[in-house]
Point group: C2
Chain length 338, copies 2
């Protein structure tokens, strides 16, 4: 169905509203705490307290996969809005500030924490960064898992060219219901749906949902990494996995860390190498910023290869420093490279 | 008076317990918001909200002048304890975590915030970093200004070789009273008092206090920068200012940013150049880490010049990244340089 009126936003995203707590640590600590090295693990508050206790001094930087992608898009000049659930606490205020200060509209009301002991706080991700720059994430979703469908501003969703959804938030029940409703609203308005698979454990739990949506043609743009592609398709071979999905998703983007990325769109294929960096400091946000770079080109109707190049540049910037959102002048950086 | 028993801690500090909120910004914003470029300004909560609203996306990193110095000292292997006032809120927990994770004992009870709207939150410093790396600090003291003398653990104070105090905390009344009491306790136990002047505005308001303490021989180790030396002595000429204080303070350390530093101790004088850095990212914590480096040498009885060199190395590390506390392996870095 064609869009029923010109979009007011380029991209609206629904995602986790979390603050990253980032510490560098030695390899031994990963083993000692029995962390899932390089992955993302959902944890409850007791485990969050336990891990925080054992964590080296940290810095706090707003995060959340889709929120990071939006921050990248806004930095690249796109009009963006965000829907996500923070609590009415200090970290919630930090998250909201950082979104708005990046130029993103974010008006989902905070969840009250009047009875502090029983109401969940704003979510946070304890990130342990090893000397190789690899991040190991431990997520306490907090208030985020209670994002209700009632919190959706449906007019807002209908007014964005692309609805961007993150797989992480597909796991808790209430946000999943909210995202399903958001998809209906966006499709009724003739908008595109972009989806990032986020992490293999989500696909293991909800792969049937994702495969149904893909078969039904609900997903217009799909972002996966190599592992997620394998989990989603059941094909260990990268090319076989790509072939299994390519015809079912109008735009398929598969990232492969230092091996670059591949995109297949409407039968056309393009590839790009990773942009080399002097030192990988912290890989947090690499996939998120790749998606931002790619989408920023896609929205402008740029050629597929160019969209990938933009993605690779954005990923290379974010892994050069701590934190999951761009710190450089990204428009200048892209202009310099392309 | 000689120490009445061997110290359990090398250094105990009383200081602001604040979290830094650090954003990079363009020069224009400093003018637009009418900030005191390069300085530290005390602000109330309304102004803090106003400035935060106008602030670019930020990162949160535990700060506080004396707390930063302790973090440096602990990283260098010294036994340290801290006394400071946080509130019972998320930023207070962040501050406490970061102190303890650095190996510092910090047990001052948090101030309750049960009635959230009227009780002050944990203090924070909104730091605007311009492209030249200069930081402009705006401090909302919050709970910090209510540190009561009753919160002092006098046995703890008596058990540290050096009591380190920051001038910033001399401004609010309750902490000033607490610090006066702490000085009595430390001196009765035969310990040394180290004092950092912190900022000229503090000297303008409380210079008579400081000058009396210096005349009475209460201060054993004094840290000042060039401007503070001038404000304290009324002498615009650096050498004249040094001469005015040198005989009255057993150890006088005067830092001069990129011009290096001078120390005069018991009649001996030493100088050191600044350690060059590739890029000055954020000068926050430069003075604090200089003090940490110097004290770490002083505690070990190293020669005066070597103490200064350690200070210069620590300052050079902290201005090479965002945030006021060391991120490198400082013991290795010092071993590499000296």
């Amino acid at each position: 169905m064609p869009a029923n009126n010109p979009p007011r936003y380029d991209v609206i995203a629904i995602g986790n509203a979390v603050v990253d707590v980032i510490a560098s640590c030695e390899e031994e600590l990963i083993e000692e705490l029995q962390l899932n090295r390089g992955g993302m693990t959902l944890i409850d508050e007791a485990r969050a307290d336990e891990l925080y206790e054992a964590m080296p001094p940290a810095r706090e930087i707003s995060g959340g996969s889709a929120a990071n992608t939006l921050a990248g898009l806004a930095t690249l000049g796109l009009q963006c809005a965000f829907i996500g659930q923070v609590a009415d606490d200090q970290l919630g205020k930090v998250f909201r500030h950082d979104m708005r200060a990046t130029g993103i509209d974010f008006d989902t009301p905070a969840r009250p924490t009047s009875d502090k002991d029983s109401e969940p706080a704003t979510g946070r991700v304890l990130i342990f960064v090893t000397p190789d720059g690899e991040r190991t994430m431990n997520t306490f979703l907090g208030a985020g898992q209670f994002l209700p469908a009632a919190a959706l501003d449906e007019e807002l969703i209908a007014s964005a060219a692309i609805l961007y959804l993150e797989g992480y938030l597909w796991d808790p029940e209430e946000p999943r219901r909210a995202m399903r409703r958001a998809i209906e609203v966006a499709r009724d308005a003739g908008r595109k749906i972009a989806f990032t698979a986020s992490e293999s454990f989500v696909i293991e739990r909800h792969g049937d949902d994702f495969r149904s949506m893909i078969e039904e043609g609900v997903i217009d743009i799909l972002f996966v990494n190599e592992t997620e592609l394998a989990t989603l398709t059941g094909e260990d071979d990268f090319e076989t996995g790509l072939a299994a999905l390519a015809g079912k998703v109008p735009v398929l983007v598969a990232t492969r860390s230092e091996k670059g990325a591949v995109a297949i769109a409407h039968g056309e294929r393009a590839e790009v190498a990773a942009v080399p960096v002097t030192k990988v400091v912290d890989t947090t946000g690499a996939g998120d910023q790749f998606a931002a770079g790619f989408l920023s080109g896609h929205v402008k109707g740029e050629p597929l290869e160019r969209c990938l190049q933009r993605g690779a540049i954005c990923a290379s910037e974010v892994i050069s420093h701590y934190g999951p959102r761009p710190e450089a002048d990204m428009q200048a950086l892209i202009a310099e490279h392309l």
